[in-house]
């Protein structure tokens, strides 16, 4: 059992405020991912939860108790560092048993727990090796094993996979999910990789410049981004964003016009905009498809063929470039002139302040 509450958490380094008031609830057994661009304060926030960084302001509660002033060892949390931070002079077994040794756990029990963790992480053959004789993935697993043996209330991960190559990263993602299932623990995971965030999280917290931009399930963030930042950050390839003008408002939808002329109907609740308002139109790349009768005309500047997917990068006269994602392998070639049709459900509107305008229907999986 472990729940966390963050109430107006703040952090300043000298006069420089890095975390600018964060409120957050984390439920028991939840897998929460902090995601955001480099330097937004993810690590700082995680380190404050860990107790490695002093909290400048606000309350940090674990299971309802304020623990701002409790030392890192006494919070009952375990952390996996980006650099692994294994103890180089100790064997894998000693690394994993170190916390238990400090806690004066008897040797027999220590060995039992380490063996159990080694079994879960498939580290049994390496227990007597030193960290320098392990591969990156094995080191990563030792770092996780070191956390597991303590049976912490909450696991903290700071970009644990960023030093691994792509294939291993994919494999470790699955292993971490399996581990979450098996250990039934609350996990907080920091990454700047939105694929990791999308695939692993129960709840994503999008941070920017020390503030929370949006909190929600992966699909909620994907289908209903609260603002321009989240819209642009979540989803790969990025959402197409372009300047547009409202030309017609009605109860069922709003029509906007791109500077180059084409009109697009967006299912936005009525009464939120007026004719003539300048807005930003967002269209997911998979919401566009080639259609000779479509409203948008463009020239193909670049084709990326991924096999199962084809990405077309278009230039649009008088508007921002667009990316189109097509299922399967497509025959379109560079310099082709094509027209695009738009799936209204993949369209979003953002007002001048960058806030999303409420959509008519919620996506069924993003309640």
């Amino acid at each position: 059992m472990a729940t966390l509450q963050l109430r107006d958490i703040r952090k300043s380094f000298g006069a420089f405020e890095v975390i600018k008031g964060i409120d957050l609830e984390i439920d028991d057994r939840e897998f929460v991912v902090f995601v955001g661009p480099s330097g937004c304060g993810k690590s700082t926030l995680l380190r404050m939860i860990a107790g490695l960084e002093e909290i400048t302001g606000g309350d940090l509660m674990i299971d309802g108790k304020r623990i701002n002033r409790v030392g890192p060892a006494d919070r009952g949390l375990a952390m996996v560092f980006q650099s692994y931070a294994l103890y180089p002079h100790m064997t894998v077994r000693q690394n994993m048993a170190f916390a238990l040794r400090l806690a004066r756990v008897p040797k027999a029990e220590r060995d039992r727990k380490v063996d159990e963790a080694a079994r879960i992480l498939q580290l049994e053959p390496y227990l007597e090796r030193r960290p320098k004789d392990l591969s990156g993935g094995q080191r990563q697993r030792v770092a996780i094993g070191r956390a597991i043996v303590r049976q912490p209330k909450v696991f903290l991960f700071d970009e644990p996979l960023s030093n691994l190559d792509a294939a291993l990263r994919g494999q470790m993602r699955i292993e971490l999910l399996r581990l979450h299932e098996e250990l039934n623990a609350t996990m907080i995971y920091v990454t700047h990789d939105q694929i990791e965030a999308m695939t692993m999280a129960d709840k994503i917290v999008v941070l920017q410049a020390g503030r929370v931009e949006q909190v929600g399930s992966p699909l909620e963030l994907y289908h209903h981004p609260a603002n321009l930042f989240v819209a642009g950050f979540i989803g790969s390839p990025r959402m197409n964003l372009m300047e547009a003008k409202v030309v017609e408002t009605g109860p069922t939808g709003t029509s906007v016009a791109l500077p180059s002329g084409p009109r697009i109907e967006v299912p936005i609740e009525g009464g939120t905009t007026a004719n003539g308002d300048a807005v930003t139109l967002g269209i997911r790349p998979e919401g566009l498809r080639i259609d000779p009768a479509g409203p948008i005309a463009g020239t193909v500047a670049l084709v990326e063929r991924l096999g199962g997917l084809t990405l077309l990068h278009l230039t649009i006269a008088g508007s921002e470039p667009m990316t189109v994602q097509i299922e399967g392998s497509d025959a379109t070639r560079t310099h082709d002139q094509i027209r695009l049709a738009v799936d209204p459900a993949a369209c979003h509107l953002f007002d001048q302040a960058g806030q999303a305008l409420p959509q008519h229907a919620r996506h069924p999986l993003a309640a």
């Binding site: 860990a50 107790g51 490695l52 030392g71 890192p72 060892a73 949390l77 375990a78 952390m79 560092f81 650099s83 931070a85 294994l86 103890y87 180089p88 002079h89 170190f98 916390a99 400090l102 806690a103 070191r146 303590r150």
Partner: protein, 271 residues
């Protein structure tokens, strides 16, 4: 990259040149110690070797008691310096404030003052405290004398330990003492050892304070040497014999610990 023959020749010449230059005085001293007092002032290489000087030196002074003082004072001073320097360097390396750099420089700057500048106040302090000619007094003075260098060296070794390793230890439940004992010291052992060795050598060869603050009871080997460059006139053979005996232990010690020293002083402590 392989060195060209010219590069190898040059490094041979300079390497051996420097080594011989440094070694020559010691070799000459040892050589002289085996000469008779009559031969000692002539630079000849051929003479009838004798142990007369050693016999005289032993007869005139209690070598062993001086040597024992040297050992006690050097080891004591080094241990005391490390005892203070390890926590100090830990604090400076891992919990720095904006004053840390300044503090380090200030510590080093105390080494720029000639010791004789503070001789009188220290002497008076020692006299009042009853520390004159006592081993504990010298242990204190030596520890203080080496503290800046020891802190500096440990600081640079500690700096190479990634902070995250200590933070991982903190998450695992280590308190400050545990961090230092279980993680920092084992990780920087070559560095700490070479720092200790250097401090030992500096203590062993220190003459200024030992000559001024001791008379007989606590006098180390440097005072033993000095007692042979005495008013009766210079007896080079005996002086050389005394010096040879004084530096012999530290030479032997240095010989055995040279790998440790070189490793600690030239390579990173953790790599």
């Amino acid at each position: 990259m392989r060195a060209t023959p010219l590069q190898r020749l040059l490094s041979f010449i300079f390497g051996w040149g420097a080594a011989l230059l440094l070694f020559f005085p010691i070799a000459w001293m040892v050589l002289t110690s085996f000469k008779s007092e009559r031969d000692a002032t002539s630079p000849g290489l051929f003479f009838a070797p004798s142990l007369d000087s050693y016999r005289d030196v032993f007869a005139r002074a209690d070598y062993l008691s001086f040597a024992l003082n040297s050992v006690v004072i050097s080891v004591g001073g080094t241990v005391l310096a490390l005892l203070f320097a390890i926590p100090a360097a830990y604090a400076m390396a891992f919990h720095p404030t904006h004053r840390t750099r300044g503090t380090l420089l200030w510590m080093l700057s105390t080494k720029m003052l000639p010791p004789v500048g503070v001789l009188v106040p220290i002497y008076l302090l020692f006299r009042t405290a009853g520390l004159l000619d006592s081993r504990s007094g010298l242990v204190m003075i030596y520890a203080l004398m080496n503290l800046p260098i020891v802190v500096w060296m440990l600081f640079t070794f500690y700096k190479e330990v990634p902070n995250e390793i200590l933070e991982a230890g903190r998450m695992d439940g280590a308190k400050t003492a545990g961090e230092v004992w279980f993680l920092l010291l084992p990780l920087t052992l070559p560095g700490v050892a070479s720092t200790g060795l250097l401090s030992l050598i500096l203590c062993w060869n220190e003459a200024f304070w030992s000559l001024n603050l001791t008379s007989a009871g606590a006098a180390p080997l440097t005072a033993f040497i000095a007692s042979f460059s005495s008013p009766e006139g210079l007896f080079f053979a005996k002086l050389s014999a005394a010096s040879t005996m004084a530096v012999a232990p530290i030479l032997v010690f240095g010989w055995f610990s040279q790998r440790q020293l070189v490793q600690g002083l030239t390579f990173g402590a953790v790599k």
